[in-house]
C-alpha cells in the first residue's frame, strides 16, 4: 500500500468513521482516538486484506471491535434487553428541522447500545442493512430489529429534548384501530 493509497482511503473514510465513533463513545477525544487507532491498524494490517473493495467494511468493523474491546468491562454500558424499546408505541414524531446537529448527536448518543451502532451506520447512509449486518457481524433480522427499535428510542430522545410546539402529531393510533377492525 502506497502513501497515496493510504491518504486516499483516509480522505474517503475518516469523517464518517469519526461520526460513527462519536456516536458510540460520546466523547470527541475518544472518537478521534478510535478513528486514528483504526487507521493505524489498517496501516499495519491492511495489506493482509486481499479484497480491497472491502476496506470500508474492514475499517468500520475494526473500529466497532476496538470500541467493544474498550467497553467490555465497563459497567456504564450494560447489555440491553431488546424488548426494552417498543417501536410501535410512538405516536408522535419530532420536528428535526427545529433541532440543531449537536442536539441530534446527543439524542443519538442517548440511544442505548446495541441499537446505536446499527442506527448510526444507517444514518451515515453508507451502509445497507446487509452491510450493517456484515460490519457488526450480526444477522440481517437483528439489524432490522435494532433499526426499528433504535429509531423508536431516538424519537423518544428527540421528543424529550424538544419543545412541545415543535412536535408533530401522527395518527398511528388511528392506524392501529384500522388494522384491528379491518
Amino acid at each position: 500500500m502506497t502513501e497515496h493509497d493510504f491518504q486516499n482511503l483516509v480522505d474517503r473514510q475518516y469523517v464518517p468513521l469519526f461520526r460513527f465513533a462519536l456516536s458510540l463513545s460520546k466523547s470527541e477525544t475518544e472518537a478521534a482516538d478510535l478513528t486514528q487507532q483504526t487507521f493505524f491498524l489498517w496501516a499495519t494490517k491492511g495489506d493482509q486484506l486481499r479484497d480491497r473493495s472491502k476496506a470500508k467494511s474492514w475499517l468500520f468493523t475494526t473500529l466497532y471491535r476496538e470500541f467493544l474491546s474498550r467497553r467490555r468491562h465497563d459497567a456504564r454500558f450494560p447489555q440491553v434487553e431488546l424488548d426494552e424499546a417498543r417501536e410501535d408505541d410512538v405516536s408522535i414524531l419530532p420536528n428535526v428541522e427545529a433541532i440543531d446537529g449537536k442536539a441530534l448527536l446527543h439524542a443519538l448518543q442517548d440511544v442505548e447500545e446495541p441499537f446505536r451502532a446499527s442506527l448510526t451506520l444507517f444514518y451515515l447512509e453508507q451502509f445497507s442493512y446487509q452491510e450493517i449486518a456484515d460490519v457488526l457481524e450480526i444477522p440481517i433480522g437483528t439489524v432490522m430489529s435494532r433499526l426499528s427499535r433504535g429509531k423508536a428510542q431516538l424519537r423518544e430522545r428527540l421528543l424529550s429534548k424538544g419543545d412541545t410546539d415543535a412536535r408533530k402529531i401522527v395518527s398511528m393510533a388511528k392506524e392501529k384501530r384500522t388494522e384491528t377492525h379491518g
Binding site: 486514528q36 410501535d88 441530534l104 444514518y123 432490522m144 431516538l154
Partner: protein, 79 residues
Amino acid sequence: MDNREARFILSAYRPSGQDANDPRFGEALGQARRDPILECWFRESVELDAAVTEKLRSVCPPSDLRESILAGGRLSRPS
C-alpha cells in the same frame, strides 16, 4: 404481511432510495402503495430519516484529525 411487519422491514429502507430495487423491500413497499395509512407512516418516516441524516452530516471531526492520522499512518506502515 400485515402493517406491523411492513413497518419493521421498511425501517431499514434508506431515505435516499438506494434500496428501491432491493427485492427484500418489494412486498412491504407494495403494501405501502396500496394502504394509505401505511403509506402516510412510510412517507413521514422517510422524511424524518432524511432530516436526521442531513443533521448528522453537519457533525465535523477536529480540524487536526486528518493530519494526525496521516502522520501516524506513515509511522505505522511496515517499512
